[in-house]
Symmetry: C2
Subunit: 341 residues, 2 copies
Amino acid sequence: MNLKELSRALELSQTTVSRALNGYPEVNAETRQRVEEMAAKLGYAPNQQARRLATGRAMSIGHVVPRSLHEMMNPVFMEFIAGAGEAYSQHGYDMIISVVGDQDVEDAYREIASRKKVDAVMVHGPRIGDNRPALLAELGLPFLIHGRIPGLEKTTSWIDVNNGQAFERATNLLLDLGHRRIALLNGLEDMDFAARRRAGFEKAHADRDLPVDPKLLRAADMTEPYGADSALSMLRQKAPPTAFLVSSMITAIGVARAIGLCGLKIGRDISVITHDDALSFLPNSGEVPIFTCTRSSVRHAGSRAAHLLIEKILPDPTTLVSEYLESELIIGQSTGPHQAN
Amino acid sequence: MNLKELSRALELSQTTVSRALNGYPEVNAETRQRVEEMAAKLGYAPNQQARRLATGRAMSIGHVVPRSLHEMMNPVFMEFIAGAGEAYSQHGYDMIISVVGDQDVEDAYREIASRKKVDAVMVHGPRIGDNRPALLAELGLPFLIHGRIPGLEKTTSWIDVNNGQAFERATNLLLDLGHRRIALLNGLEDMDFAARRRAGFEKAHADRDLPVDPKLLRAADMTEPYGADSALSMLRQKAPPTAFLVSSMITAIGVARAIGLCGLKIGRDISVITHDDALSFLPNSGEVPIFTCTRSSVRHAGSRAAHLLIEKILPDPTTLVSEYLESELIIGQSTGPHQAN
DNA sequence: TTGAAAGCGTTACCAT
DNA sequence: ATGGTAACGCTTTCAA
């Protein structure tokens, strides 16, 4: 069923039918009604490819995912995608995901741009000194960054959690509880979010003139064994930490495992605060959440990001938008006062 | 840069240029060379939308993801997507992901079909009595199932792990170690894979004329708290299990947490075997893997699925393919002989 | 308020 | 081996 057939069935021109269906004002109300009914009856839907060619709009948003990003951000990324995907659907946009090797990111963007596959792209996992904004500007591809790139906050569009403040508050909570040896198990610090978290951690210490022990700082891919191995070795050193601040639930689970292996009790002997991206398969909720955490729904971030991209940036690609997302500090069972020994 | 401009620059017809670029045999070798060089020099790439319209092929594969599926399968799904995505790229296909409400799956497929958005779809999370194959057949959309649907094994194309056999082997390992009270923490059993795992578990018992205690069987979304809560309550009952067979690493981590909370040691006091989908952010490897597991890379599954879909099914949609994936039984630190008390 | 017809950028058929 | 031209199915400009 295509436009020609539909218009023949209605004994109208393709022009009128198209206009009726696309909400053009000059169409007679009852004509429009007739058209819509017939279209529904015959199950007509405009061919996407033809419409794309005619309008020059791809009606899709691209996500280029370098493999290394995916490796480490896998579950977080998926949750973001889920949020964004729903928003795209609501606006009639398709989501195109390209999984490419780390070396092929630039090629992928160039290809996407020259073939006009998408109207805009979402940029994931911004790093310090990230050159994607420059490339995308050159290619004329509108984009929105999930996160920020230092130095480009004013000249790019982004949506981000206030990571620095969240980790500063979490650190202060631990300091208020009397902890003085707090370990930070961070994500890789060439990622902007991780750098900001570390800065927040250090600021909380600096504000009280407290030192930070470099032996208590780690940064790596946020896996479960990373948490377990790091916590284990730190807890076994001569001056062990009494609290951990951790960048992801998965890593925190590893920390909890290590604490158990040492015969200690989380919340009583050792305090743990983790960032919680509110992943659906890792619920940290209920009456009392397992982990005290800084929580921010990455799924909601995806949804907001998609809306901003479609509603603000696409209509006028010169628009710059930036938005902060809420982050809560939630008290669970994994924190308690420092125990003097 | 479009075909018209390129052909003008070459002083050739669009026809010839198109043929040269698309590898048609009748083109003079040196002409082709000239064309290719010029195309590279000018950075020409055929407009995807125009090509799609002209060929009638969308050059994309669709993934319709119901929200509920995504909720529970999130990390597994993402890993599959990563594998499939790479394969699509290699073949020049785009991956379109539609995240929709559970009620809107059928509509989504109908829309996709009538707008000719994709050439084929991948079906995720097959359930018992799943009606998607019938719908897709009606819509004329070629498809491949990740998993199988009971009763449709012979009439649909699919790729699957031998879940039943994997869990039967795992159960036998535990039985060989002397365990007689083995708990099964399964995924939701209206999902085909979970039903097959349970069948394998029961078969291993039946083959030795051993009973299965219904109190030791659970089925739910495979979250971490599900594992922890289930294990906790089972370990506290009067006749506790001495071993757990678990459907996912995440749930197994919960089980490990519960075992620790009970003051027991995994592998010594309580044995655990889990299925391991080889998720990149949950590595279970190293010298000695933490968990004894049945392992099968879901990422590899995605890759194979994409290849089969593109190479076998798309060229001839009447083709039926089915493929079993390897699953290894890997001994880790979480299993040991039954301790007589 | 409606319609005819010209694109949109390819591919593919039919000539030459 | 190469070129002319008609699709592909829609949107949009120009006329009426």
